[in-house]
Amino acid sequence: MVHNVSYLGFIPLLPLAGALILGLMYLATCQGKQISERLYGILGCIGPVLSFFMALRVFFSLRGLPEQERFLSHVAYTWFSTGELDIPMGFLADPLSAIMLLFVTFVGSLIHIYSIGYMKGDARYGKFFAYLNLFLGSMLILVLGDGPVVMFVGWEGVGLCSYLLIGFWSDDRSNVMAGNKAFIVNRIGDLGFVLGMGFLFWGIGADGFDYLSLKANAQNLTAPVGLVVCLLLFVGATGKSAQIPLYVWLPDAMAGPTPVSALIHAATMVTAGVYMVARFSFLYAHVPAAGEIVAWIGMLTALLAAIFGMYQDDIKKILAYSTVSQLGYMFAGVGVAAYSAGIFHVFTHAFFKALLFLAAGSVIIALHHEQNIWKMGGLRSKLPTTYKTMLIGGLALAGCPPFAGFFSKDEILYSALASGHVLIWMIGVVVAGMTAYYTFRMIFVVFHGTPRDQEAFDHAHESPKVMTVPLVILAIGSVFAGFYNLPAIFGGHQKFSHWLAPSLVEHHPHGGVGLEILAVAASVVAFVIGVSIAYRKFSVPVAEPVYKGFNKFGYHKFYVDELYHTVIVRPYQFIGKAISRAIEPFVIDAPVQASGWLYRMFGLAFKVFQAGYVKVYAIYMVIGLSVLSLLVSQSLN
């Protein structure tokens, strides 16, 4: 039973309209008299906030429906249709997209408000809000799209906004390069997505290429094609959600303004891959082998990123690697078919990671765009609100009970254990410990100890209300979001999982209370170990360490960027040069040139006969006549 509600289309349309208006205003005025920042800020926030209220409306109308009828949809118009293919511009709100919708608009609105303060004084203030609005609109299309093709619109749209916002300060070449890298790497993933859609369509899509029809026909998909589709779609997910081997763009993406890092590169866009896998749970449930691969890639990514995270100097890069690592958890979750656990982690992660980034942004602004943690220290007293909120975020990220991250991460690890993926669970526990370690390494170095740069320390001051209020709100979310899916062992009812049930195809494993206690205990132990190591090493004033051996290897991120550069980028450039300098002129064009040369040679050869004297031509004529006469007399005889 699907209910048609026409306001669905307006949810993405509002921010998009905002982007258009802001963009035109900015274009019209950027070279003349500037419009006041306040106007831009207010206009920029209208769209997201309205979308948030509409998302609430969607959520509550879904709640008012019986469980199996929780589908709201709206087809705006036929987007394109040819042959068997029929793609409507349709939107679908079900429990899954409603959850995504809620936190995307909620976190998005908060970050818009925060940006009013953060971007103060930037010459391209209006452009920033236009891009942010565009991003939010695209993200909402991604979430609300009723089929893979409409989702792809948002999918690419958020990629574009990511590119634009990473290279926002475009005067600096490295920022633009980081943006390019993000776009190109995402595009590699998108290739997988597009091909996956192609296979899916020719497999079962002819009877309707939207989620509900696909879900209904999923059993018709043969196993090999199903595997191909799942893996190709997962390639798309690795690009967007920064998994091995396409994770390299996310740390570089920190070149963008901090609200961007918080909104796009931590809370919302990068989770799109997880959302997509959950969306296609009816396919992945069909093909267990694909889920296996997803889970392993996810967990390995989590491990790798956690290792890198332990060595970073840049506060935002630490958070970036922690994002990659947490995304790995999410994929491990959806990979072991615990889709609701993965989505729950997406949900809680959005709060605490946005919080951490915004708090980091507050620190960065306070220190006038200093991002190196080894130039900070002792900021606890100067930035009390920031410190408290960041501590809450850190505890949530590290998985300290009862903060949000603990429950969601535990749910994933328990699902892995209960579904028999013991090795994945063990790695997960280790990564949890590492997460605790690098999170508190960061907090201790930045906020505890003594100031390392006295001058910067003296000028530091707490951020304005417009920035701290979102921090506090997010901190509250980080504390309490986890209770939404309290498992039975803590006396809860897993409301979140039940809420999602109509959208997903999953079977909750029942491992028994013993396993559950084991999982919880292991996570808590890992957290305690990680924090205590960090406390031992960094709660006292320490200088910037010099890395040797394996540590140096980790500090340089296993030289993966360099490897990619040597193996992919350089040969690509080389082939380009080779084609344009050698192959094109000397191979492909050679027959053409040769034919021209041949004609010229013929010309030169016959030029000899062209003496230029009329008499000579007369002689030729006579000779010709003579030969002709000879031939004719021959034939006469």
Partner: protein
């Protein structure tokens, strides 16, 4: 009988060719061309006699008219060339060389 006339016409024509080919004096070349025209005329008139048909005569008249026109123009050109180059050698005119 007529074939003797035609043979004479052929001989004269060939002599004309030889004149054009072997001489470099522009006057001689020009007159050799006139010789060939005359040889052709002789052919026309002879065949005309053979068939008792006077179209050959008319053609001969035409050829003469053309020859006259040619003579007028050619001589004008020769004068011009002589003025320009001060020479009568056909080989100095090689503007057709590619």
């Amino acid at each position: 009988m007529i074939n003797n006339y035609l043979a004479l016409s052929i001989v004269l024509f060939c002599l004309g060719i030889l004149g054009v080919v072997s001489r470099r004096n522009v006057f001689v070349v020009f007159m050799a061309i006139e010789l060939m025209l005359n040889a052709a005329n002789l052919g026309f008139v002879a065949v005309s006699r053979l068939h008792v048909n006077m179209d050959g005569h008319v053609l001969a008249l035409m050829v003469m008219a053309v020859a006259a026109a040619e003579a007028a123009l050619a001589l004008a050109v020769i004068i011009l060339l002589h003025k320009h180059k001060g020479n009568l050698d056909t080989n100095i005119f090689s503007l057709l060389k590619g």
